[in-house]
Symmetry: none
Subunit: 410 residues, 2 copies
Amino acid sequence: MKLRNGLGVMSTSRTGTASAPVRIQVSRTGRPALGARMKAKSLLPSQILPPRELPLDQVIVGDCVAAIEALPPGSVDLVFADPPYNLQLGGDLRRPDDSLVDAVDDDWDKFASFADYDAFTRAWLTACRRALKPDGALWVIGSYHNIFRVGSILQDLGFWMLNDIVWRKANPMPNFRGRRFTNAHETLIWAARGEASKYTFHYEALKGGNDDLQMRSDWYLPLCTGDERLKDEKGAKVHPTQKPESLLARVLLSASNPGDVVLDPFFGTGTTGAVAKALGRHFIGVEREEVYAKAARERIAAVQPLPPEAFATAPSKRSEPRVPFLSLVEAGLVKAGETVFDEKRRHSATIRADGTLVLGPAVGSIHKVGALAQGLPACNGWTFWHVEREGKAMLLDVLRGEIRTQMAAA
Amino acid sequence: MKLRNGLGVMSTSRTGTASAPVRIQVSRTGRPALGARMKAKSLLPSQILPPRELPLDQVIVGDCVAAIEALPPGSVDLVFADPPYNLQLGGDLRRPDDSLVDAVDDDWDKFASFADYDAFTRAWLTACRRALKPDGALWVIGSYHNIFRVGSILQDLGFWMLNDIVWRKANPMPNFRGRRFTNAHETLIWAARGEASKYTFHYEALKGGNDDLQMRSDWYLPLCTGDERLKDEKGAKVHPTQKPESLLARVLLSASNPGDVVLDPFFGTGTTGAVAKALGRHFIGVEREEVYAKAARERIAAVQPLPPEAFATAPSKRSEPRVPFLSLVEAGLVKAGETVFDEKRRHSATIRADGTLVLGPAVGSIHKVGALAQGLPACNGWTFWHVEREGKAMLLDVLRGEIRTQMAAA
DNA sequence: CTTAGTTGTGAATCCGGCT
DNA sequence: AAGCCGGATTCACAACTAA
């Protein structure tokens, strides 16, 4: 029993009726049916009748290029694609506690070269572009391993980029060896089928769900964990890269209408389908692995559609912004080279350009150096160190308050 | 008079002595000078002597590809590039009040096609790669208009991507038409010259300035505005896309050492040079437009370098001298025959006179025996084993610190 | 029942000097 | 040049256990 998911939907059961595997059966007339050529925007959802030959709300097991080429051209409103990232991982990676990181080492993520990956990318993007309605649009998600290839090819094929969106992960995996910045985000590209496409964008809906501020291109959302994450009978994750439903909800709410047909060429365990069903959109999922497709069908069967009025807002986690001391240096509120001191001026240290402090031979955070100065195991540097302002001592915490006010907009 | 900048540096004047335009004059022997081949890491900044033929701390006016090809190969530690964005703006963009948005429409930002832009990108990236030292690295900043082209070509040329970084703008320009998400970020790519490059990364410094949490790939920084933004006599901005100094400061602090040579092929109004000078790095700037170069020279002349202690590379654990455990025995800090134990006193072993440990039948280094005791493949003995001192457990790492202090004093 | 402490884990291109 | 081996390295959450 699933208690909640990224949409706040109560799903009462995981063991819904699983439909049989669906092999694609569509006409190959080359012309989209009437419904596919209608402009969804001008119709009420109840009037939208997708073409009969579309395999709606089903999971097609097989190669995505072949399956999508079998769809009528111009029949799909939106594509959401989460293709293999081509991670190119070397040996295994261990956490500092020596536990092994469960890496994505599946065969479907292996490509011999960039050229191979590019050919693969060009093939599925071309197929998707053919399947899209003239006013349709496409979303792709990726990481720095692949997203630049995808973005370039997409432009080459004539897609028109509308935004790149950054999914800032609330709880990313840290960089265990301290050799790089924490890889804390993934990138989504939102592109219209072409420059002239009258793409769908629900500006007001998203603005309303964002404290009446325009929705920005950086989205802060948690990973897919907990009850939302599909597990097998042994408790292992079914799919290594299951995306959070909150992410898909934002995509579908902003860039599709109820009744629209959403195609996902890399359906996996069906997050796109689950969210589409909840939000009153149709989906077509293509997935190569029967194991994932089966899990997706069972999952989607258990989803209860939401009433339309609930479609307007997507829940998003908001957190009190943490202010690094470095931000005070960058904002000019304190200066590199300046001296900080404690209340009774018994200790002092110098601010460095990187937001650390120096005290004699020691360099460290305001907290570490504060602890060192007092010979204590720990110290809150914000409430220990002061700077001189107009002849008086001003606590760093006060300056942090000023920054918080400035940052509140985001 | 400039009051503050992203580094918190007081710059007293804009009207410093502007050096004459510098046309490049370097030897073309094809071999970097001695200084260029030395490994900066093992030297103090004062010992680093960049090759004489490098046009250091100067602005070269001219085409960046030709200018960079004239540099000795393998002579540059870091590249920071802010290339033209290839913005494809249709007509004029107007705000809701009908005022005209001062968009990027200069001639240098027009490219006939993606192919032209790709060729241009390949040319300057190739030149930069040749100029870089084997262990050098490159940063590029861009938006969704160009960054996917740049990223793909960079990978094709053999650069090894380390991170993509998202600069989240604190105060982005709103999307006036409400047809897209507010474009609130730009993307930076950090890439090593090659997969095997031993790139520079000051992990501890960044972590120390960030509340002792490792720095993530999403950076929240304000735009370049106010006093930092260069204006001409009529109050108009000198350069359309001047980057904030705080952004460059993070890049240079994290990925370069004091004394390093930083090349900027699209110098503009010299943010890279200003920050490099403040932080004790050398710069080589190439700029095609004399008007930008002039503004950059004047700006940089007015920059006061920070005191060295404000930017000197902080000692990291990795760079500290190695201390053999035997030295602790020899110094009498631990005694042969003494017992060592882990934090929870679940394991113990005995110190031998040769600096090894005994645990039952096994003999080996503090690391090997620590690993054996826990049944793990590896273990850091310094942070695992303790000895009893004044009734309390004392970590071997603390005793190692005492040895290092003694060594530094001697 | 609450709370505090422990354990597990997530799309990751994750070491470097010396012999 | 390849191999050895010393030893440096993690954040946010959720779930579970213990008191």
